[in-house]
């Protein structure tokens, strides 16, 4: 059922430049308890963070089932809790979303100009993707196309995927009234216009709000440090930091890639407390890398903008784009991203 979205507000999604929007569900929030600032384990600028424990479901999880999530570029969004969402009604949702997309196309908001596409929607659950028992299992939405001209036998092509998840999001889910489902992290791969349509439907249907999730240089540094320390079986790829200096008369990009063994050796001497990483340790790690660079080039990397971090585990871009590269660390990375999403919601 449709809840009261504020009239006159366009269902368009948050743009990449992070324009601030009013929550359409502002009426909703005033009814429930205010979400206090939860004390997350991976807060915005904590003095310490616990190292992500080995994923609990790793023994049971079949890496094959989540393999399709790897090596794809996912754009990140934070999502406020969904009102009256039920994972027993996934088939219904698929049907309703399908009708919505068809209606949008009729209205002339067609996504692919000149192409007659028959879009098939599937909504399913990914039970392996959760952290604690309290987490809601991840929900996957996929759009496939079949050219309208051909019959049922023709091949379906996956054109867009998006999934909601919550990994160790207890701080949010504990504070939410019963009718709400917490799936604060949303990841999308495919055309932006499809993301917009799917997002609009969810916003209308469950009275939630999507916002692009940017990743600050501070959090990128955390990722660089944490992921460098992860043990990887096969020959790992380099640990790469990409810096941008846009405000010069001629913009400059600097890629600083360190041999993974050497980066890990450095991190291992920096990280002293077992099972925990502190902000101080991350700072020391980054300072070491910056001063090694300065020694050679006399350039202060700390004055530039860290825009991307790439390791064997995953790569992350400040615009809120992630790529998962190792299935064994998938949940670990999702835990960190869930925390960032929750911080943005609150």
């Amino acid at each position: 059922a449709r809840r009261g979205a504020a009239p006159g507000l366009a269902p368009a999604m948050e743009s990449a430049d992070g324009a601030v929007r009013t929550l359409p569900s502002i009426g909703r929030l005033s009814r429930g308890p205010t979400f206090g600032r939860a004390h997350g384990r991976f807060g915005l600028s904590p003095s310490g963070r616990l190292l992500p424990p080995a994923p609990r479901s790793q023994e049971n999880a079949d890496p094959q089932r989540t393999a399709f999530l790897l090596r794809k570029q996912w754009t990140l969004y934070s999502v406020t809790p969904l009102y009256r969402f039920s994972d027993a009604r996934l088939r219904d949702y698929a049907r309703l979303l399908s009708a919505f997309i068809a209606a949008e196309k009729q209205k002339g908001l067609a996504v692919e100009v000149g192409v007659e596409l028959d879009i098939k929607v599937s909504v399913s659950s990914l039970p392996d993707l959760k952290g604690s028992d309290q987490d809601q299992a991840a929900i996957l939405v996929q759009l496939s196309s079949r050219s309208a001209a051909s019959s049922k036998n023709s091949e379906e092509k996956l054109i867009w995927s998006g999934w909601f998840c919550c990994v160790s999001g207890d701080d949010l889910s504990e504070n939410v009234p019963e009718d709400f489902t917490c799936l604060p992290l949303f990841l999308a791969n495919g055309g932006e216009s499809y993301t917009s349509i799917v997002g609009s439907w969810f916003q209308k249907t469950f009275d939630c709000c999507f916002r692009r999730l940017a990743i600050s240089p501070l959090n990128l540094s955390w990722m660089a440090a944490m992921w460098t320390g992860c043990k990887v079986d096969k020959t790992a790829s380099a640990m790469e930091l990409v810096f941008s200096v846009p405000c010069l008369p001629q913009p400059l990009n600097i890629s600083y890639a360190i041999h993974p063994e050497d980066a890990k050796a450095l991190w291992d001497t920096v990280q002293k407390t077992p099972g925990e990483i502190t902000q101080e340790e991350v700072d020391v790690f980054m300072d070491c890398l910056y001063s090694h660079f300065h020694r050679h080039f006399k350039i202060h990397l700390s004055a530039t903008k860290l825009v991307k971090v790439s390791t064997a585990i995953a790569s992350a871009h400040c615009d809120g784009i992630i790529k998962f590269l190792q299935s064994q660390y998938l949940t670990g990375v999702l835990m960190l991203l869930t925390e960032l999403a929750i911080s943005q919601i609150q």
Binding site: A238, V245, C247, L248, P249, Q250, P251, L252, N253, I254, S255, Y256, A257, I258, H259, D262, A265, L266, T269, V270, V284, D287, C288, S291, H292, F293, R295, H296, F297, K298, I299, H300, A303, T304
Partner: protein, 354 residues
Amino acid sequence: MDVTVAEYIRRTVLKIPRDEIKTMLQKWGFLSETQLQTINFHQIKENISQDVVQLCEENSADIKQAAVLDIIYNHIYPNKRVWSVYQMNKTVVCFSCVTGEETEFFDLTDFKKKFKRRLRSALKNVTINFREYEDNAVWIRIAWGTPYTKPNQYKTSYVVYHSQTPYVFISVSVLKSNLPLLCQALVVASNYHDIHEMELRSHSLNSLKDIVFKRYSQNFQTYYPRPLQERNVAPENGDLRIIQENRNEKERIQRVNQEVFGDGPQPKLEFAQYKLETMFKSDPKMDVLDEKEPFRCLVKFSSPHLLESLKSLAPAGMADAPLSPLLTCIPQKARNYFKIREKKGFFPGSFVSP
């Protein structure tokens, strides 16, 4: 006219910006002025190219003529390709070279003959075209085939050879396997003994030439720190809030920058790459990594105009002045790919670039 030739001409014309098509066709000279008059150069490019092909048909164009049009296009728009610089040398055995007395007369006809012969002896299916330009630049276009297939006109290599210098600029082709053969043919044709690739690459052919021919404004490579000069400057009328130290520092940065980079415009390069194999050194009190092994890194700088960008870092407060010689030596050393190892000796802070 061969269908493939027609198609090739059509595609080449389509690459040219519409306003330039007429001039380029005139430079080409294959179509007469009368024929060119019949073309409406204000219509869409698709139609212009069709008209051109039609006229070429009338003149029975073959691949050699089509290739000349391609050379002309690439000569005017060289920055669409990436160019590598090669240097040829003669061994010391050649006495007159050592004394520098020799100013060999460059026999173009002989060069072309030897070049073609060398290439064709190894590979029958090649299309070779030459075109000479001012400043002694010889442009060579090679379309590569295989022993069993005709030359692929879309997979071409370009060579620019300045006959009075030992430098050759080669546009990196898709078919890298042909590179050794190409180098051999160049060496043989130009009467040198061997050729090696310099670690210098860019889209801007002219900038590469500026660097190797030293056509940019030179700068002093060594920086001698100047003693601080005591200045008794009366404060400016009125505004005593100007902080003298900052202004001194700003001026110092400008001065040092100018010494290090020179006055004139910088040659245009898009990237520089450094493979670092130096030791990691940290502040002893940080108690971190103290390895005996090198800390292996790969650093890549990229910018639409790299040297100008680097020059602006110190004034913007993001780098020290002077900037590291590893960066400022790029035009001097005529290279933008480096391997840096630790220099063993007195100055642990200095680096050797092989």
